[in-house]
Structures are given as structure tokens and as C-alpha cells.
């Protein structure tokens, strides 16, 4: 209990002092996770919609894999990316290991299946409702991909939020490929892991509170924007 109240006051003072190390950590966390979400969306949304609408042999297997990979263990993703990027690995010459770029790649791999699998479900549900009307208007399955992505935009905002939640909360992948280098690849979650193992529980908890507050803020903003737009569009 004392740890908890100490954490609260420490969190408060960290925020109000605008501690520059804290700000660097927060900004890096946001930068890495938002970039990972953006990239995963660019690939995941069309991929999910295509799997939803296309009919080809092996489709069920892909759906199964996407659904299963929603639960990919971050440490396994981290380890795989680590092996690929390590000096001896196939992508070693890129020199990306222990950089923020490597962290973006790892988080993107982690959330791409989440975004693709949830998009597939959303688009399949929409196709149920739209298919007769769209086919009547002369829209084939391939043309329905952009149409339904646009018409499902409010539901897909929630899908993207799910991806962001996963990215901002995970520690296993970024700590392996980023290395938790102070001032360079230290994020909120890796800092929490470090402070916990060091025994500075109030600091770890304070960082945790700030992380949760940020997550609520990001979700809140997107929810507000989405609700406002949805009310306008019916």
C-alpha cells in the first residue's frame, strides 16, 4: 500500500516536473507504437479485406493462421526478429538490431495478424449486408475491397485501436530487439521491466500509471472523433 501511494505521488511529480528522461521515454514509446500500427494497418487492412472477399483454395488455412497469430507471444516475435537482424543473421548487414526501427518492425509483425484478422471479420459481416446491393450496382469482389474498407471505417477504427493497445502494452518483443538502451531504445514498458527488476517499485508503478493514462487518452481521442463522425454519417 505504501508502494502504491508512493507510486502515485512519484508519478505526479514526474509528470509535473516534465522530467526530460521521462518525456524521451514517452515520446519514443508513442513513436514506435504509432508507427508500427500505421504500417500494420497499411498492410493489414487490405490483407484482411482481401481474405474476407476472395475465394481461393487454402483460404480457410489463412483465416486459421491469422486468427491463431492474434495471440503471437511477443517474446517469440522478438526472438525471431532478433535472429533475422543479428550480425550473423540474413538481415544483419542492415545494422538494425538495437534500434527503434527494429522495435517498429517487431511490433508491426506482432499486430499485423490482429489487424488483418479483425478486419476480415468486419468486412465479412459488411459483405453479408452489402453483397446483393453491390453486385447489383456492378461491383465485383475485387472492387468491393476499397468500398467496404471505407464503409467500415468506424468499426475499423476500433480494430486499429486494438492493434495500438497490443503494441503499446507489450514488452517482450521491444526489449529483445531494442535492448532497452537508455535514451535510445528505452520505452515505457522496458523501463517498467527494468525498474521492477532493480527493485524500484514506486518508479515502475509510476511509469505504469503514466502508460495507462496515455493509453486511455489515445483511445479517448479516437473514440470521440469516431463517434462524432459516425453520428454525422448514420
Amino acid at each position: 500500500m505504501t508502494d502504491f501511494s508512493a507510486a502515485l505521488s512519484l508519478a505526479g511529480s514526474l509528470v509535473f516536473q516534465l522530467d526530460h528522461r521521462l518525456i524521451a521515454i514517452v515520446l519514443l514509446s508513442l513513436r514506435v507504437s504509432l508507427l508500427a500500427v500505421a504500417l500494420a494497418s497499411v498492410f493489414g487492412l487490405p490483407l484482411g479485406a482481401t481474405v474476407a472477399l476472395a475465394r481461393f483454395p487454402g483460404r480457410n488455412a489463412i483465416v486459421l493462421v491469422l486468427n491463431a497469430f492474434m495471440g503471437l507471444p511477443p517474446v517469440v516475435v522478438g526472438l525471431t526478429i532478433y535472429l533475422l537482424l543479428s550480425r550473423a543473421g540474413p538481415l544483419g548487414p542492415l545494422g538494425m538490431l538495437f534500434t527503434p526501427t527494429a522495435m517498429v518492425v517487431a511490433q508491426m509483425v506482432l499486430i499485423l495478424p490482429i489487424i488483418a484478422a479483425l478486419t476480415r471479420q468486419v468486412v465479412e459481416d459488411l459483405w453479408e449486408e452489402y453483397s446483393e446491393q453491390l453486385r447489383s450496382l456492378g461491383c465485383g469482389r475485387a472492387q468491393a475491397v476499397p468500398t467496404l474498407l471505407w464503409d467500415g471505417r468506424y468499426r475499423l477504427a476500433t480494430v486499429i485501436l486494438a492493434g495500438f493497445g497490443r503494441a503499446s502494452a507489450e514488452v517482450g518483443a521491444v526489449i529483445i530487439v531494442g535492448g532497452n538502451v537508455a535514451g535510445f531504445t528505452r520505452t515505457m514498458t522496458t523501463a517498467i521491466a527494468l525498474e521492477t527488476s532493480r527493485g524500484d517499485l514506486p518508479l515502475a508503478m509510476a511509469l505504469g500509471l503514466i502508460l495507462i493514462t496515455l493509453t486511455i487518452a489515445v483511445n479517448g481521442v479516437i473514440q470521440l472523433v469516431s463517434q462524432h463522425a459516425r453520428r454525422g454519417m448514420g
Partner: protein
């Protein structure tokens, strides 16, 4: 657009069954250009099904659907339009909904805007052009669906009980639209439960009962002297089952 008309449309021996149940049996008919054909019959007679088969939304279990012009499916689809009982509006403005099929047909932005604006005005929707389609009333949405069909200048339009959920004023607007399509030379194939509406609009009547085509006759003949006992009972307002 090529000059050859896709009409007449010939249905021969058309059957459709689902889950082992025969829903439409051995329908043979021909739809000619510029006719108003009303499809009548009790619930479950297969009226909607027949419209969907003609439009190509469903594939028949047996029988053939033959168009006068031998065109690719995509081109055939483009010369037909359908207005559903409950039209699905895209989550965009009314104007964007009307532009949508034009965009699919590869028509340029400026011409799209021009044609869609004109179609909206034709159906009295000009002032609603920038409103999101999904917040329009049922009657306005149905008129929007008609405008979206109109903009493609179809040779044949199917209307599946388009007025069953509308108030009298909106129903009148739909009937007016049917006359507009007719005046433009479009063949209208429309199913309805409203007998007085059928009397007002029909050139020909197709009477279906339990998946069978019992009559396909000029409207006057159908309403004055129906040949089948089922049609007589249907017109008298008795339960036909």
C-alpha cells in the same frame, strides 16, 4: 454503348431450389422492351426470387436466362438495375451514393458529378445531395435508390416490393418514378402486394403461386378475367395456399 438492345429477355424452364426445397419451378417467360410488368402473388410465391434470378444475383438450379444481345456478364449487369425493398445505402453522402455506380463503370469525375446531380434533381433530392445517405428517411432513401438506378440509364429495372414500407406520399413518388422509367423506354419488372398499385401501373401481369408461373397476360385480361382459380381467389382477397 452498343446499339443492340439486351431485350427481350427469355426465361426458359427456370427452376430454383435451396436445401432440397423447390422454390421456383419451370418458369418460362419473355420480357420485351419498354413494358411495365408487375409480378403478383401471395407471400412465398417466389416473386423476389424471380427478380434476383433475372438480375443474375442468383444462379438458377435448372433452365436458362437468355438476353437478346450476347454481351459479357459485366456489361449485361451494367444495363440492368434493381431497387430493393430495403435499399442498402453506402456510408457516404447522397450524391456520393449516386456517383458510386458511375465510378464502377469507369466514368470520369466531372461527368459523374454532372450525371449524379441531375439524377438527384430529377427525384427531388437536390437539396439533400450533401446529406449522409443513411440518415435520410425511408422514403428519401427509396428515392435515392431510384436515382442511383436512374443514373445508369438501365434497359431494365427490377423493383422488389419497393413501396411495402412507405407512406402514401413516398409510395406515390415511387409510382411516379416507375412512370418516368417507362417514359424513358426502360422495361420495369416490379413485384408488389398492392393490387390497386398493380392496376395503376401494369401493362402485363405475371402471377406466381407456390413457385409456379400460373399466368403471364396483359393486365386488363388478368384483372377482368383471371384464368386460374388461384388468381381469382387472390384478387378476391382470399387466402391462397
Amino acid at each position: 454503348m452498343t446499339a443492340a438492345s439486351i431485350l427481350p429477355l427469355s426465361l426458359s424452364g427456370l427452376s430454383y431450389s435451396a436445401a432440397g426445397q423447390s422454390l421456383l419451378e419451370d418458369v418460362t417467360a419473355e420480357f420485351h422492351a419498354a413494358r411495365r410488368i408487375l409480378v403478383l402473388g401471395p407471400n412465398g410465391a417466389g416473386k423476389s426470387l424471380l427478380l434476383r434470378l433475372c438480375h443474375g444475383l442468383l444462379a438458377p438450379s435448372h433452365g436458362t436466362i437468355r438476353w437478346n444481345a450476347d454481351l459479357p456478364r459485366r456489361e449485361l449487369r451494367r444495363r440492368q438495375a434493381m431497387v430493393f425493398q430495403r435499399p442498402v445505402m453506402l456510408r457516404r453522402t447522397a450524391l456520393a451514393n449516386v456517383e458510386y455506380p458511375l465510378a464502377l463503370a469507369g466514368i470520369g469525375r466531372a461527368e459523374r458529378r454532372h450525371c449524379a446531380t441531375e439524377a438527384l434533381a430529377h427525384f427531388g433530392l437536390a437539396s439533400l445531395a450533401q446529406r449522409p445517405a443513411r440518415v435520410l428517411s425511408g422514403g428519401e432513401q427509396q428515392r435515392l435508390a431510384l436515382a442511383r438506378a436512374w443514373v445508369m440509364r438501365p434497359e431494365i429495372i427490377y423493383l422488389d416490393e419497393p413501396t411495402s414500407a412507405l407512406d402514401p406520399a413516398a409510395t406515390y413518388a415511387v409510382e411516379q418514378a416507375v412512370q418516368d422509367f417507362h417514359a424513358a423506354g426502360t422495361t420495369v419488372v416490379m413485384s408488389t402486394h398492392d393490387l390497386s398499385q398493380a392496376r395503376r401501373l401494369a401493362d402485363e401481369v405475371l402471377f406466381l403461386c407456390r413457385g409456379r408461373l400460373l399466368e403471364h397476360v396483359p393486365a386488363s385480361a388478368f384483372f377482368e378475367a383471371p384464368a386460374s382459380a388461384e388468381a381469382r381467389a387472390f384478387l378476391a382477397g382470399e387466402l391462397v395456399w
